[in-house]
Symmetry: C2
Subunit: 327 residues, 2 copies
Amino acid sequence: MGVLKDQSRTLESYKDIFEDSLEQMVLQRMSSNADRPAMSIAKDVLLAGGKRYRPIMSMLGFKAAGGGDLAEIIDFAISAELLHTATLVHDDVYDQAKIRRGKPTIHMTHGISHAIIAGDYLFALGYEMGSRFGSEIIDRVGASCSRMASSEILQFKHINDLSTRPEDYYDIIDGKTAGPFATGGSSAAIIAGADREIVDSVWGFGMEIGRAFQLVDDLLDIIGDEGIGKPRGTDVHEGKMTLPIIYALTMLRGTERAELADVVTNFSDERLEELTRLLEKAGSFEYTRLLISNHIDRALEHSEVLPETNAKLLLIEIAELSRSRTS
Amino acid sequence: MGVLKDQSRTLESYKDIFEDSLEQMVLQRMSSNADRPAMSIAKDVLLAGGKRYRPIMSMLGFKAAGGGDLAEIIDFAISAELLHTATLVHDDVYDQAKIRRGKPTIHMTHGISHAIIAGDYLFALGYEMGSRFGSEIIDRVGASCSRMASSEILQFKHINDLSTRPEDYYDIIDGKTAGPFATGGSSAAIIAGADREIVDSVWGFGMEIGRAFQLVDDLLDIIGDEGIGKPRGTDVHEGKMTLPIIYALTMLRGTERAELADVVTNFSDERLEELTRLLEKAGSFEYTRLLISNHIDRALEHSEVLPETNAKLLLIEIAELSRSRTS
């Protein structure tokens, strides 16, 4: 993980470094009697890939903020992925999801009890590995995780709530998705020893990129995408008020509004085309793409204060990826 | 929380100090937008009482090891209770328990999703508050939580497993109950600045007292006790191989052994007397009381190196309490 190769690294090579380190950590835990029973259950979903945007965001935030050897940040990157995977495992239990990262979910293969415990184990490991970076990091990660839990509760309050406002939506996704991105990146910048301006800009970049990611996911849930790893319409099935739906509920009038309300609250796979037609009519897709583009632009503005490094270019590349994923 | 009153404090006054501090922490979190949604769900079980042995163990471990003002340890004590309560909330989900600390469980009142998230929130808070005490404490708490998850998985492996050995039982309860007691006490001793001999003796005391507590709980699950806060026979319903049952399965022969195997694997409330009669016949209650007594004696031996303080006397009082709870 030497500094010499930094200028030639691609997103793919950062991902490779992360995957190798993650695998090593898992192997090490598997050799301990105290960890093996829990890790045996948890390791499959952890090693099943996924986009790894959170740990890569930490690694790039570290380098872009002037950090040295990646070995200094790798445990924090692993911690970010552990905490993220823990929430996925638990989400899947109460969402009754069957597939995650292309594989059967733990509660499907081992039952709810094992899925809850495996998630708890991943949380424990994530907090343990993250806490070692000192009190400022503990503050940030703690606040992020508390807010994440609160956002999940808020999200439930708005299930099938047709009066959900865009502010409610942003309140939820800022806690659930954008906050962890911002926390991961800015904590990594702190670990790199960066000054406040740099830390804040990586925070801002993470927030905006996280919002863009969530909006992309919401859009792809409806228009479909092979890479998303879950069936089309999953969010709608769960009654989640995503932005494309919130927007259409505001824009449509009369019978079309009534039809949309009915599709959303009585959703089935057969009504996916009907939903798509109504959202198209409302201009939801166009509007959501515009919002995504705005968030990416703001992320890029935040990145402007960062010194010119290869890591900065890769952060910009990640931002632009979101724009292309939905077009 | 000044030192002047230390010599006159009772277990009850330690508990009062803890309850006050816990309430203050909850109020503070409730005033934050980022915490309120999750804390609103989690606070009832947290404030519903319980024996508070874990935080009291930490407070006493701190004082017995030469610690100063209780204010220095109180966040760690709260952290111990948060982590413990988090596991209870999650255990109750997959055990489908209806009552905890005399109140309906979260998953009964708010559904499985909210119970899982509330548990995750309590974990987050517990790790955050505990991590601030530095890397040696993070090591201990992290190892304890990892092992706790593994023990829960092991416990499931032995559900209805009539060949479960006493070693398996101790492997499970050492991770699930005794380890957290030992971790809480010994971490508190480290925070107090104690030397290795004192830290190790508080660790040993915690392990033995934790084993005694678990054996008492296992015994009371069968013989009944109003203070235990859950219906009699809960463990047997869940197929848990507790020591009284493991012992009886070894001691009984022929038709009695067959009858016991049948009672355990096809348990219903009506068979509680039948189970009690068989365990009585096998000498399980007597044997379990003997084990409890042995663990308490060993705990007291560990306490011998501690300097003569009021806190030490209270640790001894806690140990003796376990002996009296089952007689």
